[in-house]
Symmetry: C2
Subunit: 458 residues, 2 copies
């Protein structure tokens, strides 16, 4: 039993790992196969995967060499993508095929997705026709759709059955999923018309009709619905499981919320990483991969920084005459950038969770405009006072106050307009918005401060 009891120390897994990983490395060195076998069997697959991820590359190869087929296929499913890829380079296509045979369709699909095209083909050719057909069908749907995360194993019965009849069927049938949260009631065309949670069947008398305990209100997921959208649906309707239907509304699979947890987590994580310009980087990625991933973003940023430099250079003469402008100009740009990022983060989350729509768009925009004015005025006063105390130059204080208000309003408006426009053009707002917003606030910040400065002083 994996008892998570040590409540004082919140990082139970990690601490358990730290000691254990040492021991595991030691035993790998000694090739103590009995120990390795026993540990991998006793641990939860998620914990075993954790340990394997934390071994050195060398020890991981050794483990695969020593254990090979004895490793529980579920462990492979739990490994993160980069370690999974690394291990699959070591395994023959035969081993991968026999591993897939032992997994449920959704998990087999997850592994197959990450293989390169040629290896995928070879592995598929080594599978029995039925497994192959199911997996190829799954792969035929676009990545990130419900089809890729659904399980093809589910339990469905006709609507006229009694509870007793259902229980007998469940006891006798061999090819039902091992575990299911609800039973689907389907019509003669295999269209789902309701669901009954397993616990309700348990509590009903044998002679009651299944349709009498069925709940009609149900949410069905179309097979090509976007994964993120599926997550949103589960979250919105508090679902534990839902049926998946094809374009003719026939039941083809089901999704349970434990699979959705990963989707919801990954999608939200993506937003954090994309906003910061690192895409789908994982902490285990290699240095070269990481450097490459971050390069494009930094290059883009370099060009926007050069744009700001060009704007400043226009006012070279002004700065030469009053160098204090050079001291103060980063303040206006940076305050605008931060205010813009605040609005941007709220907008991106609101778009992702659908709280922002065309219904309330106008209202939200005007709110941001007012917030921009309010914060602009507040910080115009604060900054103006500080500059006055520091430089004792009324014109300079007025100048920074005016450009502060201007840039704060610009920040609020573009913080909301940029992500919405990108979404209209079907570009993920989390990926590209922050470069646009900070470029705009930089340029407007420098332009308004130095431009007004040139007007005021000369």
């Amino acid at each position: 039993m994996t008892l998570l009891k040590k409540t004082k120390d919140k990082r139970v897994n990690i601490d358990f790992n730290k000691e254990f990983i040492k021991l595991f490395n030691q035993k790998l060195k000694e090739e103590d196969i009995a120990f390795l076998d026993k540990s991998l069997k006793e641990l939860h697959p998620a914990d075993s995967a954790d340990i394997i991820e934390n071994l050195t590359l060398e020890n991981r190869s050794k483990l695969i060499e020593l254990e090979g087929f004895n490793i529980d296929p579920e462990i492979f499913v739990e490994l993160n993508e980069s370690v999974q890829a690394e291990i699959f380079l070591l395994l023959s296509t035969d081993s991968i095929a026999s591993l897939l045979k032992k997994l449920e369709s959704d998990n087999a699909l997850k592994i197959l997705e990450n293989l390169d095209k040629q290896k995928k083909e070879t592995v598929l050719n080594k599978l029995p026709p039925k497994d192959r057909f199911i997996l190829e069908e799954g792969l035929s749907y676009p990545e990130d759709t419900a089809a890729r995360i659904m399980q093809r194993e589910f339990t469905a019965i006709p609507s006229n059955w009694l509870v007793g009849q259902t229980i007998d069927y469940l006891r006798e049938s061999k090819d039902l999923p091992e575990d299911f949260l609800e039973i689907f009631i389907v019509d003669s065309d295999f269209k789902p018309i309701g669901t009954v949670p397993s616990s309700k069947v348990l509590r009903a008398s044998r002679d009651s009709k299944m349709s009498s305990i069925m709940s009609e209100t149900q949410v069905l997921i179309p097979v090509n619905m976007d994964k993120e959208e599926v997550g949103h649906t589960f979250e919105n309707y508090n679902l534990n499981s839902a049926g998946v239907v094809n374009k003719n509304n026939k039941l083809v699979g089901m999704i349970t919320s434990d699979d959705i947890l990963t989707v919801v987590k990954e999608e939200a994580e993506e937003d954090v990483l994309r906003l910061a310009g690192v895409g789908d980087e994982e902490i285990t990625d290699s240095v070269l991969k990481k450097t490459k991933r971050r390069f494009n973003w930094l290059l883009l940023n370099l060009f926007t920084a050069l744009l700001a430099t060009w704007v400043i250079s226009i006012f070279g003469a002004t700065i030469e005459q009053m160098v204090a402008l050079a001291f103060l100009m980063p303040i206006v740009a940076s305050m605008g950038g931060n205010a813009g990022m605040q609005t941007l983060a709220v907008t991106i989350r609101a778009l992702a969770t659908k709280e922002l729509s065309s219904d309330n768009f106008g209202k939200i925009i005007s709110k941001e405009f007012v917030i921009g004015i309010l914060n602009g005025i507040i910080f115009a006063v604060i900054t103006g006072l500080i500059v006055q105390l520091w430089f004792k130059d009324m014109n300079l204080s007025i100048l920074i106050s005016i450009s502060m208000i201007l840039n704060m309003i610009v920040a609020g408006l573009f913080g909301i307009l940029v992500p919405i426009s990108l979404k209209k053009f079907k570009i993920d707002p989390a990926i590209a918005s922050s470069v646009f917003v900070t470029t705009i606030t930089d340029v407007i910040g420098f332009l308004s401060f130095l431009g007004l400065g040139a007007l005021l002083f000369f």
Copy 2:
């Protein structure tokens, strides 16, 4: 049936709402109670809540006035916090008490949490002693712990029961939860020793022992475990439900993954919003609330910007003699800031998902160091070339190249060291890290560029 079938249009809810909200507003005006009644009854509570959130303040008050008690209590649970608070201002404490009585303990707690202290007391006093006791006990645990999201209603049986005996008990007992995913097997001290999914009970013969179909490997959640940690545990072990135990390891409640979806979503969302300095802002918050929330962050940023200004001002004489330094200095600072934010985002997500621990800390730090050097060299060359072409000044090109390398390394190191140090001091790294990191990259950027400039040129 809420059929999500219109697959071409991904935003089904929103579009459905848009037309419907118009109609709903119209019917509210006409005081068509029959229509309002029927709609609220037929719609999923989540959809009804969506509609109420999108009504104007005035129409919301009217709805409460017209419908009052007829509104399904589940709808209140689905409302976002700010709209919930607004509506509870309109309701009497009697109405709130009677509403809570109809809800399951976890949902009642969610509503109670959001009331102000005095109202909470009054409402609690109006509840029957048993409900009151349960809710007060729940409130006695810190916010954000498992106790606040667990359901006190669950199904537990002793380990020596047969399947048939269990089914009879389930059919006869009246005070079991309406629906449950699994049955807990407990020992004589009410300590959980295993679980059986409801579907497994359905499929076993009446004379088999419950303990024979029980699964021993299980994860138990301590009642005071942090919510975020619970989410991580569910996600890590792919759980659909888990038992909650008190400090004596007695079973006191259970948590299902549909509740965890919200937790996982909110926690990841928090990271995005905190990194951008807006805390837990919701899009429906009022302008004043939003302005106030964002103010502190901007104020903090103002002081860090003033620090940068002070650093620049030290080199005032240098800038006056070579104004090109003022044009170029934002480039170094901004590239460092962006590189720092990249590392920071990866680190914060890795800390949240526990992929970063003391086991791999050294490895990760050295990786970031190498990435900093690599990106530093690449961008030193690119920027050096551009500056050479633009300003035709070899010294200036060398200067910007050196300070670029320096600042990129600093960015990588502090992007990882700042969040880890904050976590050590038990400060949420997502809240405070970005200010620290960008301040450091700004200061080091300006200091290295202008300082080296002063050395090189004068």
